[in-house]
């Protein structure tokens, strides 16, 4: 449907107003890059949307040098995330991934929070943030909850948020040495994303896009058998970007290249 149904708009000035407004048929709205197409297709039919773009509390990027973390507001756009000097300094892999999300229009309007809360599997940020060990702050009028990314994203298009909650921010530890993110993106969305943190002792492998939600394994360095079990055990999606066999093959090839192992 080319024409969106008529719907209400609630413009919240601050977080409390927004928290009071969101609900079952009042959908939080920031960039609209996921919500608006979903409404166009009739998949979401809110009575009103609650605009979060003017809520300052959701727009910060703050560094805690002592704690070694960066806290990123949920309404920060991909473009701001990728261009921010603090993010580039402390979270270079995240900044690079954000700079390649979707297309220029999506990066200019789409937000970190929208990306995580829509929980589209074929996405980059969830995978990178899970690999980084980020913590999400979720709020309702009643208080705050702190969740790991794999506690926030519980399935394809499925989060543990209740309808009265808003994702406020993610707090991300500074990037560890040995981190990389690689993706195969033949179509508009990624086919496969792989975040690695490789040290002399340990291989941390996080796989996204081809899985229902980002999936992480921590292995001793050199544990090729464990790695093979992890890769073989992944349930990979079958869609237009390719069958599971294809995705597993591409994943294996990338891991062999990146970890210096051979078959």
């Amino acid at each position: 449907m080319a024409v969106l149904p008529e719907l209400g708009l609630v413009r919240s000035a601050d977080l409390d107003e927004a928290l009071a407004a969101v609900g079952y048929d009042h959908a939080p709205y920031a960039g609209g890059t996921e919500l608006v197409p979903a409404m166009g297709l009739g998949l979401r039919r809110p009575v009103a949307i609650v605009d979060l773009k003017r809520v300052e509390a959701l727009k910060g990027i703050e560094v805690d040098a002592e704690g070694g973390t960066v806290t990123i507001g949920a309404a920060v756009t991909h473009r701001r995330l990728s261009d921010h000097p603090d993010v580039q300094e402390h979270l270079p892999t995240l900044a690079a991934a954000a700079s390649r999300v979707g297309n220029a229009r999506v990066r200019s309007t789409g937000t970190v929070g929208g990306n995580l809360c829509f929980a589209e599997p074929r996405s980059d940020l969830g995978c990178v943030l899970l690999a980084l060990g980020a913590t999400a702050e979720v709020r309702s009028a009643g208080g705050a909850r702190f969740l790991r990314i794999d506690e926030l994203i519980v399935g394809a298009f499925e989060t543990s948020l209740t309808e009265n909650e808003i994702l406020v921010s993610v707090t991300v530890p500074f990037e560890p040495p040995g981190m990389s993110y690689w993706k195969l993106q033949s179509y508009e969305r990624p086919t496969l994303g792989v975040a690695l943190v490789v040290t002399a002792e340990q291989w941390e492998v996080t796989v996204g896009a081809a899985t229902e939600r980002p999936t992480r394994a921590v292995l001793a360095a050199g544990d090729t058998a464990g790695l093979a079990d992890f890769v073989d055990g992944l349930e990979l999606s079958d869609d237009m970007t390719g069958p599971p066999d294809y995705k597993r093959s591409v994943l294996r090839a990338h891991l062999e290249r990146a970890l210096g192992t051979t078959r």
Binding site: M1, A2, V3, P5, E6, L184, S186, Y187, E188, R189, T191, M240, T241, G242, P243, Y246, S249, V250, A253, H254, R257
Partner: protein
């Protein structure tokens, strides 16, 4: 000729250019189309009471409201229901139109129309449809003797939209006696002619007249169908076509216009119908094709025969597919010496989105098998694929098809130019990748019916308004035609204005398609300019009171004997030049007036023999294939535009690059995927068109200007040519890189990966 900037550049880059979607009329209402949610079903009932009661609703229109209007359209087979009547034949078919005051109200009310269906078996592919006893069309719509161009439509109702064949010699016997026979079967996907502007139409019916503004490539064809539908004289139907945001054949003939016009007739208001990408994909697509080519060669690698089978998946309605099939047959065997030939083609009705014209018009479908077959043969014969083609290509002046225009192009020279450019930049594969190169050549009998009229109106200051009904859909025709007029009339291009087509004011034009405009309309413009000069001469002679044969035209001036003008001179033979503006002002006796020239092209003179030209495609590609991901990168694309003469070289190169890029889309990405009754990817996120990052790493665009065309200054057409051989060239290049010949497009990463797996098994097992 010369580089001239596009006359529409400013309007377009500043967003001021008007398209059909921008059109508005006073008191205009908006439509929302309720589309079928079944691929094949009887309509048991339509409950529209709720929709009719919804806010702002003016009318809810179904087939039963169409009174004595013509219920069906289709310029070859009038099989296309304006609104589904009795049954639906594809998912997405218009069933009901809701007309309301605003687009929102129309869209909201459309959700309140309840259609009750009784399912019929859905025949969603050609093989199933041809084998089935279930009929998609239970009746024949064809009347005896009915014909469009050379195409007599099929009267059969066995799920065959059209059947045709072409043969000479004895292909079967020649194949039996051939030293080598090579067989190739390929599947060409269902593709959507993606254009930035979708289909849009605004219609205003009033007693005795109909006014339509739409995205029609062929306004005069649409006028004819609307006049029939409403039993109106042609003059009472006005079809306006402003700029079109891309056509590629997908907007040829009649599409949304009957729907908008019928809605206006019922609602008594001007009604606007627009489409989103999903609705556009369910409006028209290209014919999918399964093509088998068997070629026999003698011991010297010369073709002795070809036997070709073409099966189209034409969708629920015939539209232009019978003609596309006929052209596909003509274009299937290649511009090669062909002692024996048999081509059989069938276009099957299926319960899918209706297919019609698409850039290349049957050539890309057929060339995929035909040209890939040449590469497979080259491998089997141990001959270089360029050399194999060189041995078989026709020479200039040779006959491709008896009775048609002899070849007006030098294909061997074109092919050599392609091969040389590919060779020059050939590179070794980087680690983890494989490389392959391939060339392909096609020749199309341009379906450019030589029926065109043009009018030039010269004003009192010598500037010119050019009237044509050729539609500007991005190809730059207004610029190129202005250039021709400027050159003929010796005025700067800025002095020539070209407007939109409007059947009330602009003169007759057959179509805007088949890469015809520069050649056919260009000739009409030239003729109109010649007529204008004649008329200026007449006026000058009349003003001077001398016989017209004493008036001479040269270098843009009209020379009248001085004596006759009553001026003293040094001798009787001295003449002086008048500008056309002076002639006009003198004749009218004021700084006013205009003189008009009219030009006509018909099947006569330069365009007596059809086709008016052969449209050539000569391309080469070098690809690299990522062994891990199956991703294909086009490292080098070479196009040779054999256009006789380039009126505007930049525009020709733009056509070549655009056409080739569309071909790359088909080769690598584009495919409408039916999963059961409906498309799984009716959107641009999952229907993947080429993006900037997919552009070839290097492009070599060569223009071959040998002045051998029938058009102005020796020009022929450009626009389809560079698409036609591209899918075949990419398939062959990928096949060479991977070691297995592909049989199916698009070559998406998973499909190429699967070829790589097969190649590995083949090597491992061998």
């Amino acid at each position: 000729m010369t580089a001239a900037p596009r006359s529409d550049a400013w309007e377009k880059v500043t967003g001021r250019a008007c398209y059909a979607v921008d059109a508005a009329l006073p008191n205009m209402a908006h439509a929302a189309v309720v589309r079928s949610e079944r691929a094949h079903a009887r309509i048991v009932g339509i409950d529209r009471a709720e929709a009719e009661a919804a806010p702002g609703v003016i009318a809810v229109v179904t087939a039963e409201d169409l009174g004595d209007l013509g219920r069906r359209f289709g310029h070859i087979v009038p099989d296309h229901a304006i609104l589904a009547e009795g049954k639906v034949r594809y998912f997405g078919e218009p069933v009901t139109v809701v007309v309301a005051e605003t687009p929102h109200q129309a869209a909201d009310a459309a959700e309140l129309v309840w259609v009750d269906y009784d399912d019929l078996p859905a025949l969603t592919d050609a093989a199933t449809a041809l084998a089935s006893d279930v009929l998609i069309h239970e009746q024949s719509y064809v009347e005896p003797g009915q014909k469009f161009l050379d195409v007599a439509p099929a009267a059969s109702t066995d799920n065959v939209a059209h059947r045709n064949e072409l043969a000479w010699g004895d292909a079967e016997a020649a194949l039996a006696a051939a030293a080598t026979v090579v067989e190739t079967t390929t599947t060409f996907p269902l593709v959507y002619g993606y254009a930035m502007e979708t289909y849009n139409a605004l219609a205003d019916w009033q007693p005795g007249s109909l006014h339509v503004v739409s995205t029609a490539q062929h306004p005069l064809m649409v006028r004819r169908e609307l006049a029939r539908m409403f039993s109106l004289p042609l003059a009472a139907v006005r079809v306006e076509v402003p700029y079109i945001g891309g056509g590629y054949g997908s907007k040829s003939y009649t599409k949304l216009e009957p729907l908008a016009a019928a809605a206006s007739w019922v609602a008594g208001r001007p009604v606007k119908v627009t489409t989103d990408v999903e609705a556009a994909m369910y409006t028209t697509r290209a014919d999918g094709a399964l093509v088998t080519v068997r070629t026999g060669f003698d011991s010297g690698g010369r073709i002795v025969a070809r036997d070709i089978d073409i099966r189209f998946d034409t969708g629920a309605y015939a539209d232009n597919s019978p003609l596309v099939l006929t052209k596909s047959i003509n274009r299937s065997f290649g511009p090669y010496r062909m002692p024996n030939l048999r081509v059989r083609g069938v276009a099957a009705y299926t319960n899918t989105s209706p297919a019609s014209s698409y850039r290349g018009f049957g050539a890309p479908q057929a060339a995929l098998a035909g040209e890939l077959n040449m590469d497979m043969a080259a491998e089997e014969l141990g001959i270089d694929p360029v050399e194999l083609r060189r041995r078989n290509l026709l020479a200039p002046g040779d006959t491709l098809i008896e009775g048609k225009r002899p070849l007006d192009a030098d294909l061997v020279a074109d092919l050599d130019a392609v091969a040389a450019a590919l060779e020059q930049h050939a590179a070794e594969p980087t680690p983890g990748t494989l490389r392959g190169r391939a060339v392909a050549v096609t020749a199309s009998d341009a379906g450019a019916s030589p029926i065109s009229t043009a009018q030039v109106r010269m004003h009192a200051d010598g500037s010119v308004t050019l009237l044509v009904s050729s539609t500007e859909m991005g190809q730059g025709s207004r610029t190129a035609l202005a250039q021709i007029a400027a050159r003929e009339l010796c005025v700067p291009i800025e002095a020539v204005a070209v407007g939109q087509s409007d059947t009330r004011f602009t003169p007759f034009e057959w179509t805007t398609g088949a890469s015809r405009t520069t050649t056919v309309v260009g000739l009409a413009v030239q003729a109109a300019c010649a007529d204008l000069w004649d008329n200026l001469r007449d006026r000058a002679a009349e003003s001077a009171g001398v016989p017209v044969d004493e008036v001479r035209v040269s270098d843009g001036l009209i020379h009248v004997p001085l004596a006759a003008r009553g001026e003293s001179g040094s001798g009787a033979d001295t003449v002086s030049g008048l500008t056309p503006a002076e002639v006009i002002r003198q004749w009218f006796g004021a700084d006013a007036g205009e003189v008009v020239g009219v030009g006509v092209v018909r099947r006569d003179g330069a365009t007596a023999v059809l086709p008016p030209f052969w449209e050539i495609g000569a391309v080469g590609v070098e690809v690299s294939v990522d062994e891990a991901t199956g991703e294909v990168t086009v490292e080098h694309l070479v196009t040779v535009g054999d256009v006789g003469y380039a009126v505007n070289p930049d525009l020709v190169k733009g056509q070549d690059l655009g056409a080739a890029t569309q071909g790359l889309g088909i080769a690598l990405w584009e495919e409408m995927v039916y999963d059961g009754e409906q498309l799984t990817n009716p959107n641009l996120v999952e229907y993947r068109v080429p993006r900037l990052r997919d552009a070839p790493r290097r492009v070599t665009s060569v223009l071959a200007e040998r002045g051998d065309g029938a058009g102005p200054y020796g020009a022929t057409g450009a626009g389809e040519g560079a698409l036609n051989p591209v899918p075949a060239a990419v398939a062959a290049a990928v096949g060479r890189a991977v070691g297995i010949w592909p049989t199916e497009l698009p070559l998406t990463p998973p499909r190429v990966w699967s070829l790589l797996q097969q190649a590995q098994q083949f090597l491992g097992g061998g």
